[in-house]
Symmetry: C2
Subunit: 202 residues, 2 copies
DNA sequence: GTCATAATAGAAACACGTTGCAGTTTCGAA
DNA sequence: TTCGAAACTGCAACGTGTTTCTATTATGAC
């Protein structure tokens, strides 16, 4: 294994950085238009204007590609949403507010959500790094919501808060899967999440 | 659509019932040996001694096949475990006991677990029926554990118990995915589940 | 500027899920 | 028993993820 695939850290020249960007752009565009099935490697390569072999040099599988796209999306969103105080009087209210917003956002681009969620659920250990990043972003978002105004930048949340955030993440992920696979409606998902949040944050 | 696929209810002749059994046996055997990837439709057909087209007549996709296998496994296990009182003094203890047993059982056949879990997470709306069956089995198992000796056959569990069971199912499923995809160890999973159960059942 | 090395393009080939089809067998009704 | 419909077999073919290979182009050391 003399030549590895290019990672986010080790992006060589400007041309390579640009190729990587074009590939992820094409991925998002295709996913947004037709979901997981529409993200076909040949189509991504063509739309990004790279050869198929090059695509595989940058991302060793379709799953890596989609999870990397997910990580970039998360980065973009969280850097935009940034550090605004979460409205709501109780932890439960704040968490529900945040999750409702997130869920609504994902409903707005159902195909993209389906593609990224499926990839996330299918990802194996070789994608653990990217997955972990996404998990941390989610936990941070939730513990911040739980603490509300009491949140202090850099301070460690309590073990219990982390445990609660984790349970809520799990419920949210399950609900997301139910939704993207067409087994539950958006209302089902919202109700289910709200019930769960009020249960663990009572 | 004049000819539908054969469902579990509409199993025609004894020969057809036997074909179905052979197919599911072959599926479990292959999954147990090599996981999701080893369950190849041609291999299943050959091992079950049916033509590929026949396999697809019984199960319209690999996902249907695997989820049906999962449902049968669940049936077998729950009919074996049957109606034995769950040990433990508190709901949390009983639920943890049951989940530990289940988790240990799945670790004992990691490949099979990986295959069935992946199929479950990938299943779309066309598999909703089979999925629903599995979900009900899981919920029943958990509500029974929560109630312990107070459980009465045929009695409806309370809304809160169902909600709790559902949250625990979600956590368990997420943990399972983390484990089968190699992102967490079995100990991680056990700890995580125990924390979650004590949180919602305090 | 030259040259070795790595990166890319382009295209063929492979693997496996899935579909389609022609011929054969099974099965139930008359 | 005979007949027609449904089920089954065997096999070829297609689509898409993945691999592989050769020729070409970009890059960086000297």
């Amino acid at each position: 294994m003399t030549t590895n695939s290019l990672t986010a850290e080790d992006l060589g020249s400007a041309a390579q950085r640009d190729r990587r960007r074009r590939i992820l752009d094409a991925t998002i565009a295709l996913a947004s238009k037709g979901g997981f099935d529409a993200v076909q490697m040949r189509a991504v390569a063509e739309q990004a204007d790279v050869a198929l072999g090059t695509l595989y040099r940058y991302f060793p599988s379709k799953i890596h590609l989609l999870v990397s796209a997910l990580a970039r999306q998360f980065d973009d969103t969280s850097s935009m949403v940034g550090r605004r105080t979460v409205p709501g009087d109780t932890p439960a209210d704040r968490v529900i507010y945040v999750l409702r917003r997130a869920t609504r956002g994902m409903q707005g681009d159902a195909n993209l959500t389906e593609a990224l969620t499926r990839a996330f659920m299918f990802a194996d250990a070789s994608v653990a790094t990217e997955i972990h990043v996404v998990g941390m972003q989610l936990t941070t978002m939730l513990t911040r919501s739980i603490k509300g105004d009491a949140y202090v930048e850099g301070e460690q949340p309590s073990d219990e808060d982390v445990a609660i955030a984790r349970v809520i993440s799990d419920v949210w992920l399950s609900a997301l899967v139910s939704w993207v696979t067409g087994r539950e409606t958006a209302e089902d998902v919202a109700d289910h999440i709200e019930t769960a949040v009020r249960l663990v944050l009572r």
